[in-house]
């Protein structure tokens, strides 16, 4: 199925484009890619990127080169819940390694892997600006800070419950 925004989402694209002077519509590319990734399964397929290019009237390559540059854009399918564990210096000092190990113990996935049921993807990321609240991870648009094993257990349970409620 070809990707296609709803009318409401197309209005949102128009609102984003209106924030720049005329002729500078390309500036809306990153905000529109965020919207596209959220809408079309958490990642950007070639079809999705081509669709965004059509919307902004730019060449597909202009979308590909941007999508591939920024770490928040996924160019391959990911699980329903993406756990992004920060591992840079300050988080490392506060035990981020053990968080990654514990997620492996619980879910059997290493960084870059997705559970066979397609529910969870584990990623390690670089500094998210939460150094004083380490160790931490990002889940969707939210930060989960001061992580402990208990908190990770609760987080995994709530993700599973959320998926079950949607089915």
């Amino acid at each position: 199925m070809k990707p296609s925004f709803t009318n409401e989402q197309l209005q949102e694209v128009q609102r984003l484009v209106s924030r720049y002077p005329q002729g500078r519509e390309k500036s809306a590319l990153i905000p529109v890619l965020h919207l596209a990734q959220n809408t079309f399964g958490g990642w950007l397929s070639t079809e999705t990127m081509d669709y965004v290019a059509t919307l902004l009237q730019i060449k597909p390559i202009e979308v590909y080169e941007v999508a591939s540059f920024y770490s928040m854009f996924n160019l391959n399918p990911v699980g329903k819940h993406v756990l992004e564990v920060c591992q840079t210096g300050p988080c490392m000092l506060n035990g981020s390694d053990s968080i990654v190990d514990y997620i492996y113990e619980r879910l059997g996935i290493r960084p870059g892997e997705t559970t066979p049921d397609g529910q969870f993807t584990l990623k390690t990321v670089e500094c998210l600006g939460a150094c004083g609240y380490a160790p931490m991870l990002q889940l969707g648009e939210h930060y989960k800070e001061h992580l402990t094993k208990e908190k990770i257990d609760a987080l995994i349970e709530s993700c599973i419950a959320k998926s079950a409620a949607l089915n």
């Binding site: 500078r24 809306a28 990153i30 210096g89 500094c127 600006g129």
Partner: protein
Amino acid sequence: MGRKLLLEKAHIENIRSYEVYRKEGGYRSVEKALKTLTPDQVTDEVKKSGLRGRGGAGFPTGMKWSFLTKPEGVPRYLVVNADESEPGTFKDRYLMEFIPHLLIEGMVTSSYALGSNRSYIYIRGEYAWIAHILEQAIEEAHQHGWLGKNILGSGFDCNIYVQRGAGAYICGEETALLESLEGKRGNPRIKPPFPAVKGLWGCPTAVNNVETIAALVPIINEGGEEYAKIGMGKSTGTKLISACGNINKPGVYEIDMTISVEEFIYSDEYCGGIPQGKKLKACIPGGSSVPILPANLLLKTAKGEARMMNYESLADGGFATGSMMGSGGFIVMDDTQCVVKHTYTLARFYRHESCGQCSPCREGTGWMEKILWNLETGKGRSGDIDLLWDIQRKIEGNTICPLGDAAAWPVAAAIRHFRDEFEWHVTHPEEAQKRNYGLAHYADPLSVSVA
């Protein structure tokens, strides 16, 4: 107890809302500026205040603004840099999250001074919820006439927009930020031309850090001269410090730059000391890019004077025995931490964040990461430390943007001050897997090789 100018009211209930913020005296600086000062007079107040850029470079803000060219008929832009990504730094996030109107208020006045009718906040993509908070604050400011057309009858129009990035440390570099705002890859531009001449969409642009722009509020309210009386020497006003690592009370603190590093780490008003009775080993006082200092050089300068929490004192001794204020990201390490491993995580960070334009940075950062990984995992060889030193030296100063320097400095400083710990990893590879080196380097407290 030092003076607070930015976060004094951050803990008032509902200060995030316009009503409470206004009741607490919010937007007074906009009234004062737009009704009683010309744009140039606002810039003059900033010059008098001695305010220095709070993003990391510490360049005088008033001077930066005076470089902005004003050709007839060409729009000018203010872009606020909220791409806070320097490891150890989380101060702008705190300010925007808890007292967002302070940034909006500072932006209206700054936009007036610079003649920007369309100003942007470029915020790192991961701070998604803060982007929503800012958009809410902007909407409220619009409703109450602080944004939009003919603000306070002054004839000045201004709109503010929030732009989310998508995960790229390099977009904190001002020209990469502008490229990103234009919908491109975050590849830094060659300077000159500087953004003040050719910035966003080729127009004159001022790019300033969140905290810098927020400081406009007290500067205009109290006057530049009054602001300059706070602090010490050329470190005027207050500075937000985000403290993290091995301390009892991590968090964001506003200091007036007259306190000592020792007080900052050990007093209960700030970091509250090191947990579990452990000892201070080292500290990176200004975000991951600035030189790491061992405890002895951190607390006292090479001359034996108490080191203070301000621009001049933190830089005392240059890179040989000093460091930098940087972004205010204060990372503390206790005696159970391994400098080699910590340096490895930073090298990995810079390799991940290098945009890839310049060969010394693109190739050098990955090479340093590999060597540091080998050292950390017991596969180091005797020439590795000299090789690391050589690589970092060949990156520094040889790239378009300062990311190359930022990647080189942490490695250089770690070797400069902790060479014995690196050598121990080479000579004792198996032991290094089982325990950390601890504080052994204090056998010779001032073993500092001056480069």
